[in-house]
Amino acid sequence: MSVSIPRLAKTWVFAVTVLISSNNCSATAPDLKNGLNHAYEQLYNARFALEYPPREEILKICQEKQIKDCLSVYLPVQDAKQKLRQAIAKDQAAVFAHTVTTINQTCLKPEPDMDQQSVFRCYGAVIALYFFTDSVYDQKIRDLLSHAPRSIARVMLSTRFEWFYNRPHPDKWITVINTLPNDVLSDSEKQPVLKFFKESQQPYEKFGVML
């Protein structure tokens, strides 16, 4: 007979685990951490800035007409993407570890209690999952979602993130999402999220960090 751990206890145990695991990550150079944190904050704009081009066609107009409002959010996101990719090329494991640690630390608080910078960093780190497409990391992200407290799991699936569309094994994601407890995601909330993952094998329009 399995024993169900109350959600509050699970969150407390998780917080302690995060503290321990973040200590283990202290090998990540401070410069790298600062650079990544800044990159996450920039990536936030790709999903939530008013002027970020939502589609390739809009980006083209923005570039052709040199529209300042949209370039001023698009270019920093491009810069953040480049820096993330360079860091991943050097040490993918360290960048992934810091991304996960950032998600665990900044997305843990229920959202209305999060400070502004934590919100940007939390969602930016979730957006950064797009850059980890190897099967090994895909499995680690599934593990992260499966074992995360409710607040983190809900943030990870809270909007149409680009990483839903480039998973190497969408079928495994569909299984994981279907088995999430109802207090994390109700059956009706699962439907649109499953739809995103089912679309991942089909051609899609470029948007957000895909641009």
């Binding site: 904050e41 936030y44 704009n45 999903r47 939530f48 800035a49 008013l50 002027e51 970020y52 939502p54 589609r55 809009i58 107009i61 923005c62 007409k65 529209i67 409002d69 001023s72 959010v73 920093p76 959202e111 209305p112 502004q116 910078q117 919100v119 940007f120 969602y123 943030v155 809270s158 909007t159 149409r160 109700s186 009706s188 909330e189 439907q191 649109p192 999220v193 739809k195 995103f196 948007f207």
Partner: protein, 256 residues
């Protein structure tokens, strides 16, 4: 009795570093107010209109506009930002209202609409759910938006980019999560639901697909500022739907 629900999102703060957004606190209110005065929405005599106002941005904006601190008074950016904000707050006080929210309540009352304040996006869905079956004639929205949903409020990031907090959004995916509300809508629909915000066409299409009622939205950007500009189009709603922005035509789409 059919119910026509109008959801009104709010402005961000008017900052010197962002002169592109929300120069006036009533950006999203005036089109609805004018539509009411001139019956541009072709209200059926049997329809009851409900204004649903997202409270946090109006509260924050009032706190910001109604008190100009000494540092702001000294600010000289060539735009007299603080004077614009102060005048807006003074005009509201002169009208007899204590703040922007009370002013909205007075305007809604004058327009013969009921007035409901919400503080979380979920409360919008709860409000729809509170109506009996076959009783919602249409839903309109006026506010910021993106392809991912309605942005009921906006903040500014470190580099002064206007952006939404996810907790202030009604996400496009939330429509499907509330598919059970489809039976609340009058069918066949009396009029189209309309979403006045940038890039709302996908939201409108999903609304039509899930709730089975016609809906309209913009494929590209729209500009609420056009209601204060000279235009050959006298109907302010049509003007918003048709006036070009920096990205070209709004490409207003009807999904039937």
């Amino acid at each position: 009795m059919p119910n026509f629900i109008i959801l009104i999102g709010g402005p961000g703060k008017f900052l010197g570093c962002d002169k592109a957004h929300d120069q006036t606190w009533k950006n999203f209110l005036v089109p609805i107010q004018l539509a009411g005065k001139k019956n541009l929405y072709n209200k059926a005599s049997s329809e009851t209109i409900h204004w649903v106002v997202y409270e946090p941005p109006y509260r924050h904006r009032w706190e910001d506009d109604s008190v100009i601190d000494p540092a702001e008074m000294k600010q000289s950016d060539g735009y007299w930002l603080h004077s614009i904000r102060k005048k807006a707050a003074d005009d509201v006080t002169k009208s007899g209202a204590a703040n922007y929210l009370q002013r909205i309540q007075h305007i809604a009352s004058g327009a013969g609409a009921t007035h409901k304040v919400i503080t979380k996006p979920d409360e919008f869905w709860n409000f729809l759910n509170s109506f009996p079956k076959n009783s919602i004639s249409r839903v309109w929205y006026s506010g910021h938006a993106s392809e991912d949903g309605l942005m009921l409020s906006v903040t500014h990031t470190g580099a002064c980019a206007a952006a939404a907090f996810p907790t202030d959004m009604i996400q496009l995916k939330d429509i499907r999560s509330h598919a059970s509300l489809a039976d609340r809508f009058v069918k066949p629909a009396m009029s189209n639901s309309k979403f006045y915000g940038c890039f709302t066409s996908k939201f409108a299409k999903e609304w039509k697909d899930v709730f089975g009622v016609p809906a309209e939205g913009a494929v590209n950007k729209i500009d609420f500022g056009t209601i204060d500009s000279p235009s050959p189009i006298s109907n302010v709603l049509t003007r918003i739907e048709q006036t070009h922005t920096s990205l070209g035509s709004p490409d207003w789409k009807i999904h039937k």
